[in-house]
Amino acid sequence: MSTSLHVAVENEVWAALGTVLDPELDEPITDLDFVESCTVSADGVATVGLRLPTFFCAPNFSFLMVADAYDAVSAVDGVTSADVTLADHHASAEINGGVAAQAGFVGSFAGSDQGEAVAELDELRTQFFRKAALAGQDRVARPLVDAGVGPDELAVMNLGAVPPSADLARMRERRAALGLPHDDDAPLLLHGDGSRVSTAQVPLHLRRARLQRVGIETNGEFCKSLLQTRYAATAP
C-alpha cells in the first residue's frame, strides 16, 4: 500500500467509526472519545482500541458498539482484516472474543461466569431509536417554537416545510430505521405509533420531547465526565 493510499484508508476507517453510535446516547463513538486508538498496517489490518467511561458499563450496549465498529471497519475498501477490542471492562474477554468470532451477543456470553445472555439486542436498539426519534422532535421544533410558531401551525407542519439541518437529517434517519414516516410529507410532530399530534396535544407532546432530549443528553454528560475522570487521572 502506498503512503497516500494508506493515509486514505486510515481516514476511511475513522469515518466508518464515526457511523457507529452509542445506542443509549445516540452519539458517534468518535465524538464521545471512546476510540482510544486506530491504526491500519501496510497490509491493511485495521486495529481499533475502544474504551468506555466505567468498568461496569452495560455489556449489551458495549457489545453493540464493538460489534458495530467491527462491521463498519471491515467494510472499508482496503481493509483486509479488522481487530477491534474493548479495554478495561468487566466483560472485555467475552465481548472481544465474541466479536472476533462473529458469535453474536448470546454466543459471546455462552458459558461465561458473568452470566449468559438469552436474546440478541435488536429490541434494545429499536427502543433507543424510538427515544432518539422523540428527542429529535425537540431539536427540530424548538427553534420554530422560539421563533413564535404556535401549536396550530406545528400540528399541521410537515418535514418538507422545516428548514434543512443536521438535526432534521438525523431525525429522518431514526424514523426511517423504525419504519416511521420520514419523507417531506411526514408530520413534524409524531406520536410513537406514527400518528399525527393534534393541536391540543402539541404543548404536552413538546414537553415530552424535551424531557426525552434532556434525558439522553444528561446520560451523555455523565458518561463524558466519567470518561474524562477515568482516563485523565492516573488510575490508582
Partner: protein
C-alpha cells in the same frame, strides 16, 4: 440544621452508606470486581468539587470518626437514612450490610434510620426475615434492587403477585417507604430489569405506600417522569442527581431540576447525598445557594423558592419517615398524603401547561 441568610433548613439525608471496600475485604478470586466497583464509585466521587476529593486509600473505608464529622458535624445533617448494599459475591464481609452500621447506630441511634430490604423470590423465608428485621430495626423503609439475579432468575417486578405479598407485609409491619434503585444495568441482560414500568401499577394498587425511585431513575429519567406524573405516591430520590451534576455539569443539573420540578413537583423530591461517594456539606450548601439560571434556555423552568429547597432538603423525607421537625423549620408539604392517581394531569398542574 443548616442556616443561611437567616433561614433555617432541616436536613434529612435519605441516601447514605458506610462501606468497607478495603483491600482486605476484596474476596479472593473476585478482586477485579471488588476493585472495579469501588473504582466506579471513585469516578463519581471526582465529579464533586476538587477541594472535596479524597485520596483513594481513604475512600476505600472511612472510620466512624470520619462519618460523625462528615455527616453530623460538618455536613449539617439532622437525620440520615442508611440504604444497605450487600454485594457478598465480591466483598468477604459485604460492601455495606446492616450489621456494619451497628456501631454507628449505638452512638447515633436517635438520628440514624436503617432501611431493610426484601426480595420476593425468597418466598416465605424472605417474608419471615422481613418481619424479624422490621422488629429489630423498627423499619420504616426498605431498599429494593429489581435487577438482582437470584437462583436462575434475572430480576423481578414490583407489580408481580409475589412482590405484592411483600408490599402487603410491609403495610402490615408499618414499613411505608419503598426505595427502588433504578440505576444503570450491569449484567448482560437482554432486557432492562431496572425499567420503571413496574412502579406504575404497584403504586396505584398500594396508595398507602410511598415509592421513592432513587437517582430519579437516571439513565431513564424520561420514563420515570412520564410515569411519576400520574402517580401521587411516587417520589424522585435525588441521590446522584445533586452530587453528580450540580458541580460537574451545572447546565444539565438545571435542566434535570427543571424537568423534575415540572413533572414530579417540589413536594415529591427527596435529598440524598450518597455518602461516602460524596460528603453532604458541599451539596447542602451548594443547593441552598443554587438557582435556576436566567438565560433564555431555562425560562420555561420554575425558579426554586426557599420553601422548595427546605422541602427537598429535609421536610418531605421527614414526613415520609415521621421525623419530628422543630416548629420554626416546619412547612406544609403534600409529601406522604394520598391523592387520586393522575390528578396532577387532570388538574392541569403538570404536563399540560407547557
Amino acid at each position: 440544621m443548616y442556616e443561611k441568610d437567616g433561614e433555617k433548613y432541616f436536613i434529612v439525608d435519605s441516601h447514605i452508606h458506610f462501606w468497607d471496600a478495603s483491600r482486605e475485604n476484596w474476596k479472593s478470586g473476585r478482586e477485579e470486581f471488588a476493585k472495579g466497583w469501588i473504582d466506579c464509585f471513585y469516578g463519581y466521587h471526582q465529579l464533586g468539587p476538587p477541594e472535596t476529593h479524597w485520596d483513594y486509600e481513604k475512600y476505600l473505608k472511612v472510620t466512624p470518626e470520619d462519618f460523625e464529622r462528615d455527616i453530623f458535624i460538618e455536613g449539617h445533617v439532622d437525620h440520615a437514612i442508611f440504604q444497605s448494599t450487600y454485594l457478598l459475591d465480591w466483598y468477604t464481609n459485604g460492601f455495606n450490610t446492616i450489621d456494619q452500621n451497628s456501631a454507628l447506630l449505638e452512638k447515633w441511634g436517635d438520628r440514624l434510620i436503617v432501611n431493610g430490604r426484601f426480595d420476593p423470590r425468597e418466598g416465605d423465608a424472605g417474608l419471615k426475615q422481613l418481619e424479624v428485621d422490621a422488629r429489630r430495626f423498627n423499619l420504616k423503609g426498605v431498599k429494593v434492587y429489581t435487577a438482582e439475579w437470584y437462583e436462575g432468575s434475572r430480576g423481578w417486578r414490583l407489580d408481580s403477585p409475589e412482590a405484592y405479598r411483600f408490599l402487603e407485609k410491609c403495610q402490615e409491619l408499618g414499613i411505608k417507604n419503598i426505595h427502588a434503585h433504578k440505576g444503570p444495568t450491569i449484567w448482560p441482560l437482554d432486557k432492562d430489569a431496572f425499567s420503571v414500568s413496574d412502579i406504575d401499577a404497584a403504586a396505584t394498587d398500594h396508595p398507602g405506600l410511598n415509592f421513592i425511585v432513587e437517582h430519579a431513575a437516571i439513565p431513564r429519567i424520561e420514563d420515570f417522569c412520564f410515569m411519576a406524573v400520574q402517580e401521587p405516591n411516587v417520589y424522585a430520590g435525588l441521590s446522584v442527581v445533586i452530587g453528580g451534576l450540580m458541580h460537574a455539569r451545572p447546565k444539565f443539573f438545571a435542566k434535570v431540576m427543571g424537568e423534575l420540578m415540572f413533572w414530579v413537583g417540589e413536594d415529591k423530591m427527596t435529598f440524598g447525598g450518597d455518602y461516602n461517594i460524596w460528603v453532604p456539606k458541599w451539596q447542602v450548601e451548594g443547593f441552598v445557594d443554587w438557582q435556576m439560571p436566567d438565560d433564555d434556555a431555562f425560562t420555561d423552568y420554575a425558579k426554586l423558592t426557599t420553601a422548595t429547597k427546605k422541602k427537598i432538603l429535609g421536610l418531605n423525607a421527614a414526613r415520609l419517615y415521621d421525623i419530628p421537625v422543630p416548629a420554626e423549620m416546619q412547612l406544609e408539604t403534600t409529601a406522604g398524603e394520598t391523592g387520586a392517581p393522575g390528578h396532577e394531569l387532570v388538574d392541569d398542574t403538570a404536563g399540560a401547561q407547557a
